[in-house]
Symmetry: C2
Subunit: 403 residues, 2 copies
Amino acid sequence: MRVMVLGGDGFCGWPTSLYLSDRGHEVTIIDNLSRRKIDVELEVESLTPIRPVSERIGVWEEVSGHAVGFVNLDLATEYDRLVAVLEKIRPEAIVHFAEQRAAPYSMRNTHTKRYTVDNNVRATHNLLTALVATGIDASLVHLGTMGVYGYGWSGSAPIPEGYLTVKVPTPDGEIEREILHPANPGSVYHMTKTLDQLMFSFYAKNDGLRITDLHQGIVWGTQTDQTSRDERLINRFDYDGDYGTVLNRFLMQAAIGHPLTVHGTGGQTRAFIHIRDTVRCIEIAINNPPLAGDKPRVLNQMTETHRVLDLAKMVADVMGADIAYLPNPRREADENDLAVRNDQFLALGLKPTTLSEGLLEEGRLVAARYRDRVDPSKIVCRSVWRAGMETADDLVTELPAQA
Amino acid sequence: MRVMVLGGDGFCGWPTSLYLSDRGHEVTIIDNLSRRKIDVELEVESLTPIRPVSERIGVWEEVSGHAVGFVNLDLATEYDRLVAVLEKIRPEAIVHFAEQRAAPYSMRNTHTKRYTVDNNVRATHNLLTALVATGIDASLVHLGTMGVYGYGWSGSAPIPEGYLTVKVPTPDGEIEREILHPANPGSVYHMTKTLDQLMFSFYAKNDGLRITDLHQGIVWGTQTDQTSRDERLINRFDYDGDYGTVLNRFLMQAAIGHPLTVHGTGGQTRAFIHIRDTVRCIEIAINNPPLAGDKPRVLNQMTETHRVLDLAKMVADVMGADIAYLPNPRREADENDLAVRNDQFLALGLKPTTLSEGLLEEGRLVAARYRDRVDPSKIVCRSVWRAGMETADDLVTELPAQA
């Protein structure tokens, strides 16, 4: 299949591009390298030393024999170039990762709030209008987030896959209506994904676009079978307070002898997925598009749920780290239960990669290998949800000596 | 009260600015004159000869003794200037009309779809972030649309004011949840107002912004007590296929001897409000803001519902016009019933101005007075919801002689 991967240089996009290429798809990466530029802005780097995009693509061709295309293009601002690329490639599937994806960064300051909305909304909408304008019948697979649902809204009911049926009172008695799960975003970033959902609904209805929205949990892990074939193919590993995700941060913290940073009580329960499953889910999604005229297909792309504190304790036990309880920079419930349906991916053949000591150890080893690249002043989260919220001082000012 | 009226040079914004000024509020208009520029793009003009904004503001001061400020500013792109203006004026209330507001224009072509999303989303989001960044505690009153609800979704139940309580199934039995009415937008324009709603919910929750969203029906009428004080204060009257609204178009068509253009069967039932009530509703809304921490307050700003065909027949009967049934350029149900709750505005003191022969006659007289300004080639709707949909030829190619 001819597949365009928008945002194909990022943390999920790169391993997805290589996986799809390895599986025989003809892959073109579209990326404006914004994620690398935000590293420059934040004065931080991926823990793992990622290579320039053209180099990593060249290495992939060397080791796999598969060519991957690359176009440096800003989806939010370069509409005409997007149309030209679509018309040249005529993709059968488009995977859309090309959005600013960190909740803390989206709340960092006015600039980042505005950038997140301006970039994400326009990137998505430009893509939708370009598909309508060109008439290219590609199915679109978009990376959403579990965060569109919020937490604790549906009582003891597991979070459904996108839609739920509710009863609405009328003078003639109750009627049943299927609705898009109400939006309860917890940050400007999550909010943009709820805006995406409404755009998808409209363009599916009005123009018959075939859209799949994947509400993904928190991704952990670094490497896949493809990215581990050569060190120059290594995937990003974000550990900083804005872009680092919770479990990977714990592994990095354990690897360098930093306390594990738990915000509030750690009673937040969240959904998780390993990066190896992310890439598999994407291929399943492009192989199973909805039909023209269908509403967007929503799948929950997660394999397990964990309380943050339980994860911290597990990593602390296995790897001998301490836990530090820090003020929570987010406005969110201290504690929540969480059950999530993921029946569709299971039915479509996903075999979940769940948390295991082996995989945790693999993550710790990646972190340990590149520990000298850590800047300890970037670890504590400092992006607060409202001005004036308390943040912690640095817990470690110099990198501890090798354990 | 110090009030900023964003989009204060437009069809609703101008009479609102004058009404609030007349009532003793200190009004500053913020407008980038985009509506006038779209007239240039569409090669059409308001049926009524509107004066340049500085002139009409000067005339208003002459006849009323009240000064109204004006800043030419693009909310979607001039964030820093917006902040500077907010800090200078320190408004107590902000009325936000500054969005592209025509459904047909929003569906006209790729450019107008993208402009509608880029402009409306960024204007609203810039305003929200600017309020957060400056800490200015102004209440925000936004013009939404009845079109966010769609038509026919809630069976025989009247459309509620923004929120409804539904029953959600759980393993422990049904639970009640109040939800934002599911979004069912019928065009890219309406879609942007559903995106606004989610942004309002988030910023009210996260930052305590005080927001009122007015879901307005189709506005008809032209003049208010203020705009009729001097011909140079006259309000816009849009009659073209993109910006003209249905009842005003019928009045114009009757006035020039053009058949009344009904799309499809005319079985569409819609909500209406007269421009005189629009301006009153805005003042009621700024006088009754929600509290910080409240969810956005949603009021349905409409006073009556009518079937389009019934309106056409009424105008045809009273004024002796013919009815032409044209292909519908929109994708919408041929027929729908509609009942709408507007309890809040009634409770807050609105005395509805409903359809009357007197008001229709007033509209017809305005149209008749400026009939020579009509370009008959602009009357038929040509913006279609999907490429290839049928449109009618011009029904009249030369302006009929004066009746």
